[in-house]
Amino acid sequence: MLAFIAQRIGKAVIVLLAIVVLNFFLIRLAPGDPAIVMAGEAGASDELFVTQLREKFGLDRPLPVQLFMYVKGILSLDLGYSFRQQMPVSKLILDRLPATMLLTGTAFAISLAFGVLFGALAARRAGTWADTLITVLALIFYATPLFWIALMAILLFSVTMEWLPSFGYETVGANYTGLAHVLDVGAHLVLPATTIGLFFMATYARMTRASMLEVKRLDFVKTARAKGLRDAVIQRRHVLRNALLPVVTLAGLQAGTLVGGAVLTETVFAWPGIGRLMYEALLQRDYNLLLGVFVVCSAMVLVFNLITDLIYRSVDPRIEFAA
């Protein structure tokens, strides 16, 4: 198994480098560069101003040289410097990473737990009103745009009922410590995490339900039933466990987006996470920062793919390791 992991990591590094090179050129295909954006924002500029900025950003050098410098940096684990924000890219990303991990991690846990629960429930009661209710709700949450759910949630819970804060990560200026701080962040977390969670919960529920109904018809379930096992045991040990494989696949994909996938939600809720950082970097053509976020996100996807593969194996022992 160790050999498998080592081999996979080796491949991952090559994939990552390819991603870096590809992204490097992709980003530069977008019209405009950071110098012109900053000149535009300043509301006044002359040639000297733009030239100075280009020089500062290193944009006056030939593209291959820029690429070479960047890749060299990446190989020594240096993500470069954001001239716009006057800070190393790695610091900017590390500052924002915890907030995003908290948000998407919570959403992931909520969606997976409740998604599988509701999916199993629906499968078990297939055809009854409970099944219909769950299926319809799942369909609604799956089909509704995230930002709309977010805005409606804000209208209901923040504006009308005044239960939950509508923006931010914590109450700014309150300086809570200990439990009060945890509760404060928790209150801020409820709406955005639920917003993201609902969508994935819906997918997990639908996936679990469909998969369980399929497994239910298989011979080994009939055998289990013939053995006289209790229904709850059959459902849990035989049906659910075997039905989980596609859910794991889906969860692995979602986990890959844990780092970068919350742009809309973070924007609507002013959550100081990495999704927003990426979006802003894109709008400002902050090349180094944008590339940095891409690299971190890609690395995360690769890591989660590896973890998913390992989990496959423990869920279904028939799967063997082969690189």
């Binding site: 002359d46 100075q52 509508s166 609507v268």
Partner: protein, 516 residues
Amino acid sequence: MLKRSLIGLAMICGVSAAALAEEPKAGGVVNAVIQPEPPGLMLGLVQNGPTQMISGNIYEGLLRYSPKLEPQPGLAESWTVSEDGKVYTFKLRKGVSWHDGKPFTSADVLFSIEFLKQTHARARGNLATLDKVEAPDDSTVVFTLKEPFGPFLGIFEVGSLPMIPKHIYEGTDFKTNPANNTPIGTGPFMFKDWQKGSFIRLVKNPNYYIKGKPHLDEIYWHVIPDAAARSVAFETGKIDVLPGGSVENFDVPRLSKLKNVCVTGNGWEFFSPHSWLWLNNRSGPTANKKFRQALMYAIDRNFAKDVIWNGFAKVATGPSGSTIKYYTSAVPKYDLDPAKAKALLKEAGYNGEKVRMLPLPYGETWQRWAEAVKQNLQDVGINVEMIATDVPGWNKKVSDWDYDIAFTYLYQYGDPALGVARNYVSSQIAKGSPFNNVEGYTNPEVDKLFAEGAVAFPDSKRDEIYAKAQKILVEDVPVAWLLELQFPTITRCNVKNLVTTAIGVNDGFRDAWLDK
């Protein structure tokens, strides 16, 4: 109608509250919104809108300006102008210190001038006529000009010429100085904390040179990227101040109707944002003067004012806004007249060529405005293609002259020589920048008038010259003027005395106080 009278009422309430000389109360925290998050707060290096808005609390200029654009004491307490209009002598206020305790002297002023010449494009232009600047003693600064420059007393506002601490920057690489992340000024508030993506926190400067000011203890500038979320944050009471432009214009009437909310359109007299359509004078149908005039007749600017900007605007009559110096209304008028527009298009020989229109990607209001104008133009038979871009793409396309019609708005900085001439004189035609003569208009007579206007002395001569220039421009329609915009500042009514000068919130919270 009811809607508008309500806004009017709210505005009156804001004005009268400020007019009543109540005794300011000390203390309190104000929560404001900043949009978008600024790239930095070092005002000498970064000049974009959000930076100016926050850093106007940290840094100061030599002068401030009343809503009528009269110079007021800032870091300079008095000034004299020589009879030939070439020598300006400033007496600096004594007992002023930087946030780190070092005294502010005339040496800092000299250093700031040198600093800004290197880093600040607008200051560089404003100081072009400067011959030398000297400091005979610690509290005197003498500016000598090569020739009289009419708007000279108008260039000392904090955003245009902020004072930079010499002891921190001298002999360093300005752009990479670590002090850029912890800005030091002389202003009423000091930089305290910046949680990127969340908030910027300023605290009271306890050693500020005006006794008893500032009144507030702290200001939090919250970063909330979504416009709808910003208005909700205000609605739920988490935010006390929405500076101009921080919510979509269509939310303003709703927010101003809330209890205890005051709205004011004041505080933009210095900038007077002026919006127009850049028309490509070089090629395509827009190169034809008749076609450009047809556009002026085709666009329903009153509709845009009333519906898209909810009345927070004024129909523009020409290159100068009505709030800046030397404005004249004695220019050719272009009222809405589609029939005339059609006739002019026929005369121009327009044959239905496609015209590329670039909206300004600054949010919903601008998007809707572009759609309204597109409709106006289609109604008279112009074939408009809307081009979608993001902000960098817009900058790029406009700077590369790759458009036919492009929305924009520019600040005018109180004087035609500072903020108007740049869009019409031929020496300002330069590819690669979105804030010069982008339309490519050249007229030797206009060039001459603007050149004379800047250095004419005394002011009555300038008046004459600019009136002439405005007349010629309005006849030529190098760009299609739309509206003089107002970006209303929305506050809780217990935030008093916030907007007092011609640059509004950008002049900082020096005089503001909280009625608890």
